[in-house]
Structure formats: C-alpha cells, structure tokens
Assembly symmetry: C2
Homo-oligomer: 462 residues x 2
Amino acid sequence: MKDSKKYVEENKDRFLNELIDLLKIPSISADPAYKNDMLTTAEAVKEQLLAAGCDKAEICETPGHPVVYGEKIIDKDLPTVLVYGHYDVQPPDPLDLWNSPPFEPVIKETEIHPEGAIYARGACDDKGQMYMHVKALEFMTKNDELPCNVKFMIEGEEEVGSEHLGWFIENNKEKLANDVILISDTGMISKDTPSITTGLRGLSYVEVEVTGPNRDLHSGLYGGAVANPINILSKMIASLTDGNNHISIPGFYDKVEELGEEERKKMAEAPFSEEEYRKKLGIKDTYGEAGFTTTERASIRPTLDVNGIWGGYIGEGAKTVLPAKAFAKISMRLVPNQDWKEITRLFKEHFESIAPDAVSVEVKPHHGGQGYVTPIDNVGYQAASKAYEETFGKTPIPQRSGGSIPIVSLFEKELKSKIILMGFGLDTDAIHSPNEHFGVWNYLKGIETIPWFYKYFTEMSK
Amino acid sequence: MKDSKKYVEENKDRFLNELIDLLKIPSISADPAYKNDMLTTAEAVKEQLLAAGCDKAEICETPGHPVVYGEKIIDKDLPTVLVYGHYDVQPPDPLDLWNSPPFEPVIKETEIHPEGAIYARGACDDKGQMYMHVKALEFMTKNDELPCNVKFMIEGEEEVGSEHLGWFIENNKEKLANDVILISDTGMISKDTPSITTGLRGLSYVEVEVTGPNRDLHSGLYGGAVANPINILSKMIASLTDGNNHISIPGFYDKVEELGEEERKKMAEAPFSEEEYRKKLGIKDTYGEAGFTTTERASIRPTLDVNGIWGGYIGEGAKTVLPAKAFAKISMRLVPNQDWKEITRLFKEHFESIAPDAVSVEVKPHHGGQGYVTPIDNVGYQAASKAYEETFGKTPIPQRSGGSIPIVSLFEKELKSKIILMGFGLDTDAIHSPNEHFGVWNYLKGIETIPWFYKYFTEMSK
C-alpha cells in the first residue's frame, strides 16, 4: 500500500482547516434552537463525502435530525465497510468555563499534545473522529488504494439517544448492508498505548419531577409542616445507593454479568496509575462501589449518576422559598445483559414507590441503549489490530469502556455484522465538558491508520 | 376620634392607585441589576411620607441600600411610635408561573377577596402593608387626629437579611428613640379572625458548594469511579434530617425552647383545619417533625429547608455529564433562644465533617437573625388589641408565626422598646411566590385600624 503517513503529512494543514470549518457550526442536537445549524452541518458532511470520493451522498430525512448517507461501491463481490459516526455535538454548557468559545476552534499546545490540540465542542466527539474516516477515504480514492466498498452513515442524534436511527436502519437494511461496521467514537489508553474498545456500557436516562404544594411557598410560614420537594428529592436520590455504593433498586443487578477472577486479573494488567488518575482530576480520592477497582467501576460495573438537578431559587442572593417542584436528570450506565428498557421500568417503579405521600413524583424515561461486547477473535478485530501494529508499531490492547453508544447493539441485531471501535481520542480530551479538544497528532494518526484496516479487512475476508 | 373608615372609603381609589404606582418599581434588593430601581423606590417613599404629613423625610445612605427616614414630632413629652417596614421585594422568579407580570399590578377578584386583590410582587410583602401606615398617618394629620409623635424607618434590605440596618440603628439611636415599634409585615388568621403575631422564628441562611473533579466529566467514562457532586450533595442533605424529620446536626436542639403541655394546648385551640390546609396547598399529606402538629411544626419548632439546588446540565434534553460542582441554598428557621450565629457555625462544622474525601465542601454563611417573642401584657400589645376590637368587633388572637423578620430582636436590644406586629396579610397571599397579592379589603382595613392603635397607645401610656 502507498504511504498514508506521507499523504497525511503533505495535506495536514488542509485536513485541519476542513475540520475547523466543520467545528464552527454549532450542531447541538439537544436544543431545537439549533435546527438550522444541524441542517448546515449535514449539508457540509455530504459535500465532503462527495469531495473525498463517494459516488453518491445524500441527506436522508428522519422524523428527527437527518442522517447523511454516502457510498462508494467498487465491486459488489468485495466486502463492504459501513462507517458510522455522528455530526451532532453535546450542548457546550457551562459556557463560562471554556477558555475559548466552543464554536470558535483554536489550536493550542498542551503537555500531552506538543503538536497542538484543536479546542472546540465536537473536536473529538465526534466530528474530529468521524472526519478522520472521510479523509482516510480521500487518501484511498486519490491513490487507488480503496480495496473494497465503503458506506457512510453519519447521524445527527447520537447525543440525544439516536432516537430515530433505529427507524432509519429498519427502513434501509438493504442500502446499509455491510460486512463490518467501523466506528471512531471512543478513546485509546494513551498515545503510547493503542487500544481497541471491546465493550461499551448500556444506558438508561430518565428525568424525574417531584411536586409538593401547588405553588412556591414562603419557607418561614410553611417550612417544617409542608414537604419540601428538594429535601425529598435529595432523600430519594440518596436512598438509590447504599453505604457501599451499591444501587438499591430491587432487581437492578439481577442480570449483571459477573466477571471471573481470571478476567478481572487480566483487566488489572492494563497500565493504570490510580495516583496519576487522581492527580489529573484534582481529587483526593476516588469513590465508588465497594469491592471493585477504579478501572472496574468505570467499565464492567453499572452506575447511577445524577447528571443535572434543579429546584427553587438559584439566582444571586437569598430567597426563602419552599418550592413547588424539584427536578433531576438521572442516568444509569448498564453492563452487557442488563436490558435498558427493563432497568428503566425498574427505576420508575422503585422511584415512584419510595415517594412519601406528601409529594407526587413523575418519572419520564428519556432514552437508552443496550451495552455491547465485541469478541476479539473475529476478522474485523484482527484487521484493526494489524492496522494499529502498522502505524503504532505495537499490538493494541483490547479494552472495555465505561461509555455508551446506545445504538451499537442495534447495529449488530439489525445489520448482522460486528462492530469495530477504533477510537483515537484520549481520556483527557474533555468530551462532554468545557474545553473539549482533540490532539492534532491523534487526528492525523487516525487518518493514517484507518486505510490499513481496509487493506487487512479485505485481505482477511477472502 | 373621627371616623377613619369613612375617610378610607372616600379616598379608596387614590389609596389603591398610589400603592399601584409604588408596586410598579422593581425594587429587588437581591439583584444588583436593580440598584437604580431601589433608589427610585426610596425616593417615592420619601415623597409620600412628606405628602402624608411628615415634617421631615430623608434618604439615609448605608453601605448597602438606603433607609428612608421620616418623622412628625408634635410634642416631645408625648409618646413616640416608630414604624418599621421595607420597600424592597423578593425576586419574582419563577417568572413563567405568574399570571400577570409581577411589576404590572392588576386588581382581580378571588373567592377570598370578592372586593378584589392587588396582584404584584411586594403587594403584601411589604410595600402594601408598609404603605397602610403612610395612609394612616395621612388620615391622622388631615383630620387633626395624630395623638403622639411618629417616626418611620423604611429599609431596603429586609429580603436580603437587613445586612446594614444594625449599623444604621447603632449610628442613629437618638434619632430613632421611641416608645413602641409598630410593624405590619406579618399576617392574620383570616378576614373573620384577626390576630396579632407574638412570635417570629429566627433564621440562618447558608449556601453550600460541593466540588468533585476539576472539570465536568463524561459520565460514561468516569461514572462509578469518581464521586458525583450531585449524588454526594443529595446524600449530605438527606442525612441532615433523620427518619422522624428531626434535624441531625449535633447541638442543633440544645437551646430550643420546649413549650409545656399547657401552652401547646392553648395553641391547639386556635381555629385550624388540617383538611382545609391540605386542600389549599393541593397536597395529599403534610410532612414534618414527628411528635408535633402542623401548627407547631410551622411556628414553635425549628426547620431545615433547601431553598434552591442546582448542578450539572439543567437545559432541554439530555447531557451525560458528571459535573465538577453542585450547589444548594439552605435555610434553617430557628426558635427563641437558638442563636443564629451559633447554629450557622454548627451547620458549617457538621456539613464539612460529613463530606467524603472524594469531594471538597464550602459553606458560605449568608445571613440570619434571632427569633423573637412579644409578651401580651405590655401596653403596645393591649393598644393593638383594642384597635382591632374597634374595627373588627373582635378581640384578636395572639399567634406565633413561622416566618422571620431577622432584625426584630435587634430592635428590642438596641432601641429598648417592644415590637408590635400588626399584620393584615393572609396565608394565601403567596408572598415570596408567583402571583403574590394583597386583598383590597385587607389593605383598607389596615389603614382604618392603625389610627386606633395610636389613640389607645397614647391614652394607655399616660
């Protein structure tokens, strides 16, 4: 194969500038105010797919934000790689913690990234990682190195639970037919230690509303006699985990896959420094389920996190109010075998059951998805492993991630192919946080590595 | 004495319009953005004091919002009544729950107020009740019925803890010298059942901040392994009260005045329907400290209420964030003998002590004040009681209120006189809430009743 490294070096500036242009569009799927920006982004992705060599690219309407589809079919008898990615991004809040505006990308050097990193919402998750695949295609088509067929499915609702992607896939099974699904929406251990994600946690995301009196009350006149929805919500949330940080929802752990000693031992061999971890996060101590290590807590164990809470007076100064309502957004990360719909139901039943008579409670299921585990003995994984060996000079480590791509298990179910998660992001990229960034080195390394996957996957599929 | 009822009837429309003009100015003391409106309001109060017959009225600077002072001294040998009130109001949030804008007063009929009620922030608390005194003075001066000296001290920081009023009083003791302090900033049992407030709860208001990691994290990648400040804050708040809703802060109850059986029995005789109470508030059940009635919980027992809570993502849709910080505003209502500074210290020490190592906690004391009890055998109380008898035809019931006027105990300490709380508001007035209002009947009844207090207080002081 021709040298992808050289092509990347020669086109580096253009590759960066094109990504920066894409990052400037605030494609926030969660907020209806950005609907037009979502369309502009989809249009830009479509144009870039055509420019990179797709024979066909189109914007496919869904009941929500559209999916961008592209393809280059060179021979129906050759294997087909389906690339999945997303062009939508997380909301950038809290804005005041960004060092530069989230939609005005800048490249800055950091300790980990002496080559610079692109700071912008979506830099890593997922515009940057998705765009690596577009540029890898460009390399292959411009240099006659595309060994198989390729299809792209770039959605606009990943950050809001891929609500309509299931519908899209069901209605386009033939169009999406493929032999392997390739995704870059995860990370790797470090620049020195490549890794391939072999497991993802599932997700159940709910919103809860606790209602007390029919109006905000004066906390002096009513305090002590009328249930305060914030106090009650705090008590209810607190009761969802016990003193060992086990989740107390009845039935929650029933289907949790318990890893054997052997597997846990193997996991513990992956390089990890608890001290380094604490230092990077600025915390005195880690915190989680008794009986498990930090790495296990963040990958093979389910969790319950409050992602947002609000109620009463949250402005400047003081207001002595006993509010009518309090709210929280709560998500649970699930492990393989836990069914997100069942867990959502168990949560709802339990949460409603623990509310005292003095309040009423509403649980609104938001979205979710199943966990996923890829076996490492399939052709896709092996091809990815060899690709990393070519460009990193090292065999990548298989690694279970704590994150979720809720739609992944549906891909396997509906499209009957394995999913390969080649992530080039780092733990420190601050995805979903202020100052999200993506290393220039990582971005270019991704573009360099991906073509090798196509080569080996095609060869090994024969 | 000439008929105050007749004068009020003749001037009713003007009395309402003048109050409405005052209510239009958004004098929100908590928010620095309204600094100019605070000054405009102070100026308007000063002008009205002069118009009502004060010989002198002035705006007295303080390190915070100014105090409006006015006086009419007719004879140094006669008693002096000092009227206290405040021209500042609570923030109007949540704005979307108001049926009409909070600073565009409207008069609407309600079931309780067939004569109409004025809807506006501050209608009852305290512009409306304060202005009754201005109009009562007008009646007395215009009709040669002022039997003694009168002074007005109308402050602009009551809703933010009267931060600088202590300083003002200390520096103006001679100017403020008086024989009784008269305040209308409380309520009465109902339009049929006049009452005089004989006790107020104290207050300690704090803001807490729980910090976990040094930035917002992805809840998938870190969830389960890193302490979530919202989960932790919920657990900490939950632990502040036990299963009987007793407050678990060590030392909290040490100085709480325990009422004897006799006193509790007497309290229980005041008309109160638990069913009516629940119905008005739209709640299935009341909720509070075990072993006490609703009336007791809301008056003679201390409380702990979260007045506001926030953290993480609180916008539309979902964001899977493990936030760096979570916050709450917490207030405790205190009963006589509990010292608010000591309670604030106990809270701070306890709250800091229960934080796990995985987070850091900051407790910022906000403001507070002591509780207060007026004996009913003093001249001031007796004069007020006779005034109500004149205009309501009934002896008012002495009643302990759950609310706080943090500065009241300081008045007694510094100015050595008793405080008489003649409140004309109702429980249903929604003070501190959306749709605050004040009955037209109550407003006019207040103006009619107050001059009788002056008459009897002067007579009984001889």
